[in-house]
Symmetry: C2
Subunit: 719 residues, 2 copies
């Protein structure tokens, strides 16, 4: 793929179709940028009516150009785009950037025209950026292409950037100049009919000028491709992404627990996390984190030393470091003794090191050296407040000098100075990030450390268990034959058991006498649950009765259940009851799978029982998940402490709980038409610590299931 995008991003000759001599037009703006930025290749403005634009000879048509052209930037009215592309094909131009608007963004008709456009592009073997975009930029020496109508003319640097919003992309490029954040390439993907963020990740992976990538996304076109490509590169080149549209009502109006918890953003969030993408939530956060990655190595650990010339900001930095999950280093005694030898008597040599207001420049130098060489320190935050005696630029220079000599640990500067300091420092070549406040610095440090955790995270495996796939097929075919997309509780538990999930002992009983007989077999105490194809949330109608201790009680409860159903006129809904082993244990977890229309199966694990929707102590991952993903997921919820036995209970068999999740993962990989699945609760047995599925609910996509299982013959017949 790389080669293909070269025609767009590393062209030797560009035709600007719709180039114009009239200022204020897009065609003029793009030509001006290309000329002003000093495009290193050849430039051919195309305009049937002009002779020369900005001193460059104009051609009436690309076909008239005497030499080879790699890239056509098209800024003509929508209806002219098609004939122009035919001409480009004739000229054998392989790279296309369609600036022109009027496609998908305008509605249904535009979307149809865009499809036609894409078809044409593919037929001609071209690659296309856009339509409806701002253009492309490559700052590399020997290329120097700004083929955009953004304002920026950006600084050259190591950060590639793509934006799904053109205007926002332009604004970000613009502001990046204030922040001394140099850009390697910029692509405004516009409607992303052909080239999407995925293609760019793949392309930038091999671009030697790109050390990190910034993405502004409103959607992820191909989640699986995105995830695979991102995983391949994020350990080497960090990807920092904004994914907007968090609050949009979730696409799925699914009714189950998992469904209602898993909005589309949860899926996006999980996908980004699993791919090692650093998600940020605003443009300034993106800049701050990008500045840290552009100027810092990834730290070995999370122990931070703070040095300051004022106590207050040292306290604020300490708060922020702790809140961001980092640690305040315990400085070595030798470091402290050394600092004590020159710092003022009122100074504090305990981390945060407060050198007090009177600290001269050489205290900054000595202290920073001492801290960076302390083996208990993984990173240093240097804080400076403007006071009578010290110039911020002098402090900055000292810090940068020491960083030069000690490149192996991150050093981050917090200069609580006025804007003019930042204007000045951002004009210089720097080797550390400069922030105005400790909170920003701490947050960015935390992201650096998260990258360490990502780098160290093992790849993980997707284990394959021995399961009874045949049995599951049979159960589902049976349900489909009865025109059901929802399995009964009994069927659901059978499916789980077929996939090796530990379920509790149970039996179906069609009437009260059978119920009593089964209960006697299983042994009291038992749980009795309504089984019905018509009732979904069983607790709400009192359809689950726990702690039945005797046959007498069982018969009473059965009668009570019938009574309640009768009151609601639902007695017909009762297919019978399930009598279940009563698992003792106060810890109730939930395992679930939901289907996001775009991201596919979403795995959920968390605190279950009545708390699922209220407390939302749950974690999500996009399937397929690895053993490492599941490990992380299980440990990420607050209730993990309960699994560990925080209150004196027997510790849960965590690896067995993890295996349960992995078996569910395998189940929905094998039966991709499973739409929703819940185990709620997965009860942690107080006896064995095992997670035991005491209730299950499975729903399939009827049409997809039917299609997949068509023709399959099971014991009860065929579909």
């Amino acid at each position: 793929m790389s080669k293909e995008l070269d025609s767009i991003m590393r062209p030797e000759a560009i035709a600007v179709i719709g180039a114009s001599a009239r200022p204020g037009t897009i065609g003029n703006e793009i030509m001006s940028k290309l000329v002003e930025y000093g495009f290193a290749g050849k430039l051919y403005p195309i305009n049937p009516k002009a002779e020369e634009i900005l001193g460059v000879k104009v051609y009436k048509n690309v076909i008239d150009i005497p030499e080879k052209v790699d890239l056509a930037v098209i800024a003509v009215g929508r209806d002219l785009v098609f004939p122009v592309i035919d001409q480009c094909a004739e000229k054998d131009i392989k790279g296309i950037v369609v600036i022109s608007a009027g496609f998908k963004e305008t509605g249904h008709e535009g979307a149809e025209i865009e499809k036609e456009l894409l078809k044409k592009i593919k037929q001609y073997g071209m690659r296309m950026v856009g339509p409806n975009c701002l253009g492309v930029i490559n700052t590399a020496d020997g290329i120097k292409m700004d083929a955009s109508f953004a304002d920026a003319l950006p600084l050259a640097g190591k950060t590639a950037f793509t934006s799904q919003s053109g205007a926002l992309g332009a604004a970000i490029l613009n502001i990046s100049k204030d922040l001394n954040l140099g850009v390697s390439q910029f692509v405004s993907i516009g409607n992303a009919a052909d080239i999407s963020a995925e293609a760019l990740i793949d392309y930038w992976k091999d671009d030697p000028n790109t050390k990190q990538m910034l993405l502004y996304l409103e959607s992820i076109a191909e989640p699986e491709v995105f995830s695979r490509l991102a995983k391949e590169i994020t350990k080497e080149k960090p990807i920092i992404a904004i994914k907007a549209g968090k609050s949009a009502a979730g696409a799925s109006a699914a009714s189950s627990h998992t469904g209602s918890l898993a909005g589309a953003d949860l899926a996006a969030d999980a996908l980004l996390k699993q791919s090692g993408v650093i998600r940020v939530h605003s443009v300034p956060e993106m800049f701050e984190v990008a500045q840290a990655f552009a100027n810092c190595p990834v730290p070995k650990g999370k122990r931070v030393a703070i040095m300051t010339n004022a106590g207050g900001p040292g306290i604020m930095a300490t708060d922020a470091i702790c809140e961001n999950g980092l640690e305040i280093s315990q400085l070595a005694d030798s470091t402290r003794d050394y600092m004590r030898s020159y710092l003022a008597a009122a100074a504090s040599v305990k981390n945060p090191v407060d050198m007090i207001a009177s600290a001269p420049l050489d205290h900054y130098e000595k202290t920073l050296k001492a801290l960076i060489n302390d083996e208990n320190v993984d990173a240093v935050m240097v804080i400076y407040l403007p006071l009578m005696n010290l110039d911020p630029m002098d402090v900055s220079n000292v810090v940068m000098k020491i960083k030069e000599e000690n490149p192996e640990k991150p050093i981050i500067a917090v200069m609580m100075a006025k804007n003019d300091f930042f204007s000045e420092i951002n004009k210089k070549k720097t080797n550390i990030p400069f922030y105005q406040y400790p909170e920003t610095a701490a947050h960015s440090m935390a992201k650096l450390y998260a990258q360490r955790e990502w780098i160290d995270k093992p790849a993980g495996k997707e284990p394959s268990y021995n399961v009874d796939k045949q049995k599951v097929q049979e159960i589902i075919v049976n349900a489909l034959r009865e025109n059901r997309n929802q399995l009964t509780t009994l069927e659901s538990i059978d499916v789980l058991e077929a996939y090796g999930v530990r379920t509790c002992k149970y039996a179906f009983a069609a009437n009260v006498d059978e119920a009593a007989a089964e209960a006697n077999k299983i042994g009291y105490p038992v749980v009795m649950k309504i089984t019905s194809t018509k009732i979904s949330h069983k607790t709400e109608i009192g359809g689950v009765i726990v702690g039945i201790n005797s046959e007498e009680q069982l018969r009473q409860e059965y009668a009570g259940l019938l009574e309640r159903l009768k009151e609601k006129g639902m007695q017909e809904a009762l297919d019978g009851v399930i009598i279940q082993e009563m698992v003792k244990g106060a810890r109730e977890m939930v395992c679930g799978v939901a289907t996001d229309p775009q991201y596919g199966h979403l795995m959920m694990f968390g605190l279950g029982g009545i708390f699922v929707e209220t407390l939302k102590d749950v974690a999500f991952r996009v399937n397929p998940v690895t053993d490492v993903d599941v490990k992380e997921m299980v440990r990420s919820i607050k209730s993990y402490k309960l699994l560990e036995g925080a209150r004196g209970e027997i510790p849960a068999r965590v690896e067995q709980v993890e295996e349960t999740m992995l078996r569910l993962s395998q189940l929905v990989k094998d039966f991709s038409f499973i739409k929703e699945l819940d185990i709620n609760p997965l009860k942690i047995s107080d006896k064995t610590g095992e997670g035991i599925a005491v209730d299950g609910r499975i729903e399939v996509d009827y049409d997809k299931a039917k299609q997949a299982l068509e023709g399959l013959t099971v014991s009860s017949g065929s579909l």
Copy 2:
């Protein structure tokens, strides 16, 4: 008090003791600032060796000054401070600012000297800022006093500011000039030996130039006074505060649930909330919120309209508004029809209104007018991205003009422009806040709305219930006579019952036969609990057995309990058991009281049972609490939905649960030596919805309790 501080903040004559002609000294810096800023009153530099400083005649001694002096600013060596203050007394100077350091901040000896200093000040009837501070500033016309050695010479404005950290205060003043945030008064309180933040709140309450206050605090000296004064003023003049030191290990190493959850910061956080103080967590957040309050009315509601010239930032703004708990307005049909009449075809007239990139200036004008006049809109966020056709300053002027004409609703501008725009706009007189990013704007809007909620919050009452105080006294005296500071479960439950808390039926049994007899009286199922003066967390040794259904089972369980205790060599610890009514209900809450050494009694309410410490779904308030505080507290936890009956359970009797908290509040007001109290769980009965205390634990401060109850005679004798 106001009058007293006038001598410091509105002096007609100032003596600068330790004034110096030598640049770089503090005494010179303060003189320079006073002169440069144009102090409106008389200035008397005091220095035994000089004749004239900066053109002002120098006196050897305050006593030599021929006229009345209101304020002495003292910048001499620590040991000279005392004789200088004696001279000030002789001269009848009432206002003192001690710049000099070397007091409490240097350790124990300095703290003792500071106590002496304060004693002297009080003897002389003086008021003092400092010691160890940067000085004071009042920008008011007719005063124009910058008696500080901060760099700032701040802009005049409506915001008063005090900082417990001098250097941070200076940095903030400095940066405030970049942000066009004018200051009314600034006080660097330093060690705050006499004048603290509390005194300043009281003083600024009546200052006509002060419309809002900013505080940087590291501690709150007198929480009760702070709370009372803040409550009095925050509905009229917002107080925006940073309280640093969040992560410091909680002062109390208390062992109970409430104790371990309630670090000192939880107490500070609760106090600020109850006082209507807007807590912020960083300097930039403080600035952002201060700018909103300085330029916006408090909105009537939380429905926000967004208008933008680019889609991406509109989506980001929508995300941010929802995440901050505000709402996206449903625009009136008439507003949408009107906008449709002039906006481009591709524009969106649905909120967020996307006028698209081509929008000219008059679209900003028309759209903003339409939105601000829509009765479904409480506030408007105007977003602008720099694009070819529009100048940000023109857009700003249009927005400010419309604000001028429509002052009643907040308008907030987001200009995603470069720093130079902000430098320019911040030199102008503005009437709306300008932010660079939508997230900041949304967050500040949310704080404006929080102020609406605070203003509308009723004052609340502290109800007084009919209780059996006598009985509680007796129980505690009994415990004290046995040298216990910890009440037994039984005693704890008796105390709760005496204060009208609904507790479950119970009885004490010294042995298994008594236990069986009591259980038969109460009726099965029952709970059996160990009672012991030596064992604190009962579940951890299996000392709580629930669901005992028969006498047979009860006898078995009793034997098992003895067995377990024997294994741990603790059989001596068993005083007997409590047999308790078994309350059915899965919803377990916790009510508690902890004692913070500084803030006093801290009330806790939240999700109980095994989840307290893991999920921390709990809310805190500093006692005394009103009915309104408790209402808010109970509704603030996530689990409130469970109380409402989110999963089909009977709704809890929320007002009875609230009353339980209020009764606890009364209990610890009456017995202030109660150190810790827990009801865990307060079980919500599935039958009645009542909150029933099924377990209780009370600990008193032994010495304080003894002192309070000394001499009291109860049935069992006297202390």
